[in-house]
């Protein structure tokens, strides 16, 4: 007899009867009856429940012992009593809290978790009034850094194992573990080495007490003094939903806002911690004019706009605009309108082209987890380009999906790729763009005009964004031009190349929209006021001088293009958790199926030098993130390693055409044979085909 997942069963919880699908957890079943069962260790996103903390004890008719609500599942006719109606269950929960408090310090007044701490709340509601424990509590050296980003206060740890389960079964990085046994168990990294990994910061949000805290946030604020501004991360094409916690006009931390289709509540460490770039020492706070080969001088806004107008008129239609893909749709549109309508300067260096045809292969990222067969066809590691996508892939594998790397041999349910416009016949295609809003920026540019670029060498180049300004190709082009106008946040990005720089803002300082890799239009909200005027505000003024009307309000700008680009949706309708439009109707096949790159000849391997996640202007300006920057590793497939007798962890020599580099071999599962990868900073003068020897 097989039961289908939709079989409903009736369960009675505290005399309320509810119907839920058979097998639903009792914690969820109770919740659907409006009854809360308190939990500590239970966190469905961490995989199967473990039943460790014993906070969720309930009484079940016919079972002699109390049961853990988190591991128990709904069966038809089950009668459950929670602490609300069962003395036994109440006693059980009270016991658990008493045992937890046996070792937990009562330092709530100085604890960062105070006021938003489940242990504090549950003790208040279910706990013992006073302590009967008369022997000394465990003491530890406290707090200890487990990385420059995270502090660990072992005395406060209640050993719910959420953090270690995250490390083991979500991030699968095997870095944060429990050591020792029994009451001596502690959470630790190896030999006090820092917890290095793309997702380490999530443990600070998972910890139900104040044991794992963010070093950036420690002692920075109390929960009642802060505001959480719902926004969307602007540092990679995933666009995780976040909240920026602010106090007195400053961002103090970034936490997740769990969009179940996009990020499931996880953030990468770049998105979580790199907000420090807002306070960079070389932050541009006034317009700057070149005053020497490596020197700027400040100029007034009036002068700056005057000069910009003069330079742009000078450049005229041949002016080229280089966009970074970090702009909001509105910023990009305003700039594009100025350039295209005001100057007829239709020439742009766009961050990337995303074929519209991909819209018909669109699916939420969460669908990746449910795919049975997935092909990952990427030169760069997924995690470096779109980190949270890697977590969805891992979740899919844990669920039993077959994941192949390189070109798949047969049809697959889903394709993840960093090559635009290939499908390999997959139903769902996830193209990973290089930039956070490349697609939105490209759309905005097209929407602002349809004139053709003029030929010829540009006299003037406009560089929008620090990422563009630090891109070697853009810099090469800028070096050829007579005049360079920059828009950006950091002096270093423009020093030596720009003649005039207008201050830019961060995604945390603006209102606007972006389009993520799924094609989801999301709204960013201004968390804090920038130390400089809004980009839209001064672009509006500058545009006016060219007779172009641009609104300083992003909502108005958005409405202007929504009809053309976003099906006429209104700014307000995007919502805090944006929906993904359904896939577009599939038109005649316009995308390539795709094929494997030519393998390296003979013993050579194709070298991919990837841009690490922990790089770029924002990361460079966050001191606590520096330890995360990769270096010294060579990723090699198991097959290639085996063929060369190379072991995991061994030092190998990578060479091509006379240059060679020593690197540590890392056998990578997510790599097709024939290709090796190094961080761009390690690639040195290596060519595209290398030899690897142990």
């Amino acid at each position: 007899m097989t039961q289908t997942a939709t079989d409903l069963v009736t369960v009675t919880i505290d005399e309320r009867s509810v119907q839920v699908p058979k097998g639903t957890g009792i914690v969820e079943t109770a919740a659907s009856a409006g009854i809360e069962i308190p939990v500590f260790c239970y966190e469905p996103r961490l995989g199967a429940p473990v039943g460790a903390c014993r906070m969720c004890l309930v009484e079940v008719a016919g079972m002699p012992k109390l049961q853990a609500g988190c591991t128990l599942t709904a069966q038809d006719g089950m009668i459950v009593k929670t602490a609300r109606s069962s003395e036994l269950a109440a006693e059980g929960q009270n016991s658990t809290l008493e045992f937890i408090l046996v070792n937990h310090p009562l330092d709530c007044p100085v604890c960062d978790k105070g006021g938003e701490c489940p242990l504090q709340d549950l003790t208040f509601r279910y706990g013992p009034g006073n302590t009967r424990m008369t022997f000394p509590k465990r003491t530890f050296e406290k707090p200890i850094p487990i990385s420059p980003l995270i502090a660990l206060d072992r005395e406060r740890c209640i050993l719910c194992y959420r953090c270690t389960r995250f490390s083991e079964s979500v991030a699968e990085d095997g870095q944060l573990v429990a050591i020792n046994r029994g009451a001596q168990s502690v959470i630790a990294t190896f030999e006090d080495e820092p917890y290095k990994g793309h997702f380490s910061g999530n443990v600070t949000e998972l910890c139900p007490v104040g044991a794992l805290t963010s070093t950036q946030y420690r002692f920075e604020a109390r929960p009642w003094e802060i505001q959480n501004v719902p926004t969307v991360c602007g540092l990679c094409p995933v666009g995780c939903n976040t909240a920026a916690t602010t106090r007195e006009g400053k961002v103090k931390r970034i936490i997740s806002r769990n969009h179940p289709e996009v990020d499931e509540g996880w953030l990468c460490d770049k998105g979580r911690f790199a907000f420090d770039h807002l306070h960079a020492r070389d932050r541009i706070t006034t317009p700057l004019r070149k005053a020497g080969p490596r020197r700027f001088e400040q100029v007034s806004w009036e002068d700056a706009l005057d000069q910009a107008e003069t330079l742009l008129r000078d450049g005229g239609a041949s002016t080229v605009t280089a966009l970074s893909g970090n702009e909001s749709v509105e910023e990009a549109y305003a700039l594009a309108k100025l350039m295209r309508q005001g100057l007829s300067a239709n020439s742009a260096v766009l961050p990337e082209e995303v074929p519209d045809a991909l819209d018909s292969y669109r699916a939420p990222l969460s669908a990746l987890r449910d795919a049975k067969t997935i092909a990952v066809y990427c030169d760069e590691p997924v995690v470096e380009r779109a980190p949270v996508v890697e977590l969805w892939l891992k979740a899919a594998r844990r669920k039993g999906a077959t994941i192949t790397y390189g070109a798949p041999e047969g049809p697959v349910d889903a394709l993840v790729t960093d090559q635009p416009g290939i499908t390999f016949g997959a139903q769902n295609v996830y193209y990973l763009p290089r930039t956070p809003n490349g697609r939105g920026v490209t759309d905005a540019w097209s929407a602002a005009g349809d004139g053709e670029p003029v030929d010829g060498k540009p006299r003037v180049v406009v560089i929008s964004g620090d990422e563009a300004a630090t891109d070697p190709a853009v810099r090469a082009m800028a070096a050829e031009a007579e005049i360079v106008i920059g828009i950006g946040m950091f002096q270093e990005s423009f020093r030596g190349i720009a003649d005039l720089v207008l201050p830019g803002t961060s995604y945390l300082e603006r209102d606007g929209t972006t389009i993520n890799l799924e094609g989801r239009l999301q709204r960013q909200r201004r968390a804090v006021l920038a130390p400089v005027p809004d980009v839209l505000a001064w672009l509006a003024k500058l545009a006016e001088r060219f007779g172009v009307e641009v609104s300083p309000h992003s909502s108005v700008v958005f409405d202007e293009i929504s009809g053309q680009c976003f099906g006429g949706i209104s700014y307000a309708d995007i919502g805090e958790r944006a929906e993904l439009p359904p896939p577009a109707a599939r038109r005649a096949e316009t995308l390539e199926p795709g094929s494997n790159p030519e393998p390296g000849s003979g013993i050579g391997l194709r070298l991919v030098a990837y841009r690490p996640l922990f790089s770029g202007p924002a990361v460079e300006r966050t001191p606590e993130l520096q330890f995360q920057r990769p270096g010294g590793d060579l990723q090699i497939s198991r097959a290639d390693a085996k063929a060369r007798g190379i072991r995991h962890g061994q030092t190998v020599t990578v060479s091509s055409n006379g240059t060679s580099v020593e690197l540590r071999a890392q056998i990578a599962r997510d790599l097709a044979a024939g290709t090796v990868r190094v961080a761009a900073t390690d690639a040195g003068d290596l060519h595209a085909i290398v030899e690897v020897k142990s």
Binding site: P49, V50, G51, A52, C53, R54, M55, L57, P64, K65, L66, A68, T71, E91, G92, S95, T96, E98, F99, I100, V102, N103, R132, M133, T134, F135, P136, R138, T139, F140, R154, I158, L159, Y161, A178, I179, N180, R181, G182, A183, Q184, S185, V186, A188
Partner: protein, 443 residues
Amino acid sequence: MGTEVEKIVLAGTDDRDLTKLAEYEAVGGYKALPKARAMTPQEVTEELITSELRGRGGAFFPTGRKWSFVPSKEQIPKPHYLVVNADESEPGSFKDNEIISRVPHRFIEGCLITAHAIDSKHVFVYIRGEYSGPYEILVNALEELKDRPEIRGDVTIVVHRGAGAYICGEETALLESLEGKRGQPRSKPPFPAISGLYASPTVVNNVETITTVPPIIAMGGAEYAKLGVPNTRGTRVVSLSGNVVNGGNYEIAPGMTVRAIIDELGGGIPDGRELKAVVPGGSSTVILTKDEIDVGYDFDSLGQLKTAMGSAGIVVLDDRCCIVQLGIRFSEFYEHESCGKCTPCREGTRWLTAILRKLEDGRATQADLDLLLDVCDRINGKCLCPLGDSDAIIIASYVAKFRDEFIAHIEEGGCPFGGESSLDHVLAPIAMHTHSPVAEVPA
């Protein structure tokens, strides 16, 4: 010595060295195997159900029924595993040590028959790391089968060594450990029969249980079920230790009284001392006073006294044993062996030790004794696995049966034995930092 029953598990060991394949075959060894293989797996399982054999690891679960829970390969298309629990670490138990050391081939034959019964090709024997002797004997015995393909069939037997953790005897912790993890119990369901080793259908059985299988197949389940008493059939190998003249393992007929085991098999109490108490089935079982030992050694009789055969480790305690110190020493054991996963066990066992110490040191009041019992109550029934519960249950039983002695510790401001107890100042491992000492855990 005394009145052992006609041996089944250890049969033939009195006059032969059955560690040798030839000797084992000479007493009819490896004859049950072809007989079993000629039967269908279901028939073998039926035979075990008929025999009424129940698990010898402690929980006493009917063996044939356990096997019958393994789903067919059509239902769950994954390999089936047989995992034999040779972790034997319960204080007072050392029978599996002797079984593997004396009749390794009977044990292996049991593995092969059981593998057939559950349609498995993979047997893992999880043997506690400290048992180097039995490990070598077992490995040698397997070595002897290298060129006997007709015996081995297409079954692989892997002997996997533990590394010192009592909790790995709990079947799900054992599976975690065998999977290369910290040995922490899993919550059940799912039960191993459905999702055990590598999330595949798995049967976990004790060494003695498995070693009993070949004789059952040889004599027939019905014949085996005639032995013993209702609910406790066949024979049991009991481990006798403590204050007894002849400690050792004895194969007995269930129902024999505890007194007879101690006096007739064990030769009584040495040094002219008097019996005080008996731990009947390993440290985790409720204690018996000297007045309770006319009880039969079987499931029902011991059950009436709210205790159990457990892993059949009988620990005899004479009148020099301070019961509070007994509580401390066992509680220290559970504290040391708590895996640290669930809160009540991790924190509660440590708390129990602390309160008991306070009693022993004469710093306790009546309120502490009440607290001790209350903490037992608060642990019991709330833990993830039986380890923590066991500590609470036995300590509560010590107080219930020896309350006067606890009161004396309070009233006399210290131990009435005045340093003369047989358990005085025993150094338990928990008092030393045997791991990397990161935690300051005050006693």
